[in-house]
Symmetry: C2
Subunit: 298 residues, 2 copies
């Protein structure tokens, strides 16, 4: 039986009271089949982001429990923070990592949404790959109006919750969905001319006519007196790292600018990096099953 | 507490009687902290090669048990096979994979050697990084004379066992040691001229004045009418894949020959491949802790 691995990155609307955060995190600690990779709290955002990975069933149970704890501890009627939010548990994305397909992550999101409503009375929107209509896919659009405007917004059939009738009085509503792993990858240019980074950013990103799975913008690196093309690769299997790196090198050349290097921000699945090694080394008939750690995780 | 991972690739002198092989393999199945990655038996060699990985303590216990089972099941006085051998358990190398240093693998090899002698009366040589003298490092030199000549050979103080006085009557003697992970990596040339592959093989390998951690030879790929530089990278941390790949491209150029691609044979640790992605993409300040699977295995 293949060992399925799913990632989940729930966001909770509490980043100041760390005792409360720890109580939520306890739902993920020492649970069979669940690995807590990381969590961090931001006071200004008044929000905590948790990264866990594991067996889909075990992750499902842990997340539903944590949503119940967050509902009991977080009161959005008294919540202040810079980051937009609509729920005590604000967002719950499921991300396929290993031996699991996107449609299985969609099914998992729906199960979690149903359980969270039945067990804790938490209503939800299904979003991204789990969305029940195209206009409901985008998280920012779902969250527009935030907690304060949400009771009114969900009366519009276009924005009716997928589970529940209206929002929870203090815990609001949660966006639960499925998406690909986001790789945050920046390519650094040998110039301090921000216009060039912006132009290349536009060329490389989907919305500018570039690669379909790339979001990009030009950003100044002030302390180094350089600029970079800062990117989110929204599906590294479709648009791999080497593709954007080589393309940016090519575009930079027309401005007489060199590529100094690149940065990987945060985590990436090993396949995102190994795919580029396979490309540059021209490895024939390569299989991820040749990677020791892949086999160890099976 | 860091999660240490060690690989062990014990070779057993039985490749025909698969019932016996399965009884040995049972020592590695379903054991807490031990992951059986692979095993294969070769009838002509009359030998089985097992690949396992796991927690050092758990691997130690499993390997010592398997050596006991192999001693009971395999009688070298009746053993025939093409592969040189001197013991029922012929070789036991320990290889550092994650959060473990070579000297810890050396200590592990010595513990296994001591336990195998105390529990089962199996004598051993310590070899490679665990060798107790430089002339005892090389496996082929230790094994020279094979089982049939070994009782006589070990009377010479130069070849005295590290554990035990003489060899076991039916189970012989085992080489137990520690070494780096071997990556089998071949670079394919766009020519059928074997002389060119042999010349480049000589340039790239340690014994020809090339890279210190490379063994290489030129080999014909007859079905494709091409040749390749076939290599063992004996320490990919010292001589990484991209280094030999780029060097071979450079040498091939002087013969007017292109590099068609490369092959990775068998398993490699993810770091061996990710190191090359890091090089080609020019990723600054990269850490293996940014790799999701690395974190999952901790």
């Amino acid at each position: 039986m293949k060992n399925q691995l799913v990632e989940c990155v729930p966001n909770f609307s509490e980043g100041k009271d760390l005792d409360k955060v720890e109580k939520i995190i306890d739902c993920f600690r020492g649970k069979e089949g669940v690995k807590l990779l990381d969590y961090s709290s931001d006071k200004d955002h008044n929000r905590s982001v948790v990264t866990l990975v594991g067996d889909p069933e075990a992750v499902k149970t842990a997340v539903v429990n944590a949503m119940g704890v967050a509902k009991d501890l977080i009161d959005l009627t008294a919540h202040e923070g810079q980051h937009p939010r609509m729920g005590a548990t604000d967002v719950v994305p499921f991300i396929p990592i290993s031996n699991i397909e996107m449609d299985e992550c969609v099914a998992l999101a729906k199960e979690v949404a149903e359980l969270a409503y039945k067990a804790h009375g938490i209503p939800s929107f299904l979003y991204e790959a789990a969305a029940t209509a195209p206009h409901r896919s985008n998280l920012s659009k779902l969250r527009k109006g935030q907690f304060e405007g949400m009771a009114e917004k969900v009366k519009d059939p276009h924005w009716a919750p997928d589970f529940g009738e209206t929002i929870h009085e203090t815990a609001g509503i949660t966006a639960i969905g499925a998406r690909e792993f986001l790789v945050a990858y920046n390519v650094i240019l040998g110039t301090n001319d921000l216009k060039i980074a912006k132009k290349i950013g536009k060329m490389v990103r989907n919305s500018g006519g570039g690669f379909s799975k790339v979001k990009a913008m030009g950003v100044a690196m002030e302390e180094r007196n350089l600029v970079q093309v800062s990117m989110n690769l929204t599906d590294y299997k479709v648009t791999p790292l080497y593709q954007v790196f080589e393309y940016i090198k090519m575009e930079a050349k027309r401005y007489g600018v060199s590529v100094v290097g690149s940065e990987l921000i945060g985590l990436a699945p090993m396949a995102a990096l190994i795919g580029s090694a396979e490309y540059y080394l021209g490895i024939e008939d390569f299989s991820m099953d040749q990677v020791l750690e892949k086999r160890m995780l099976e």
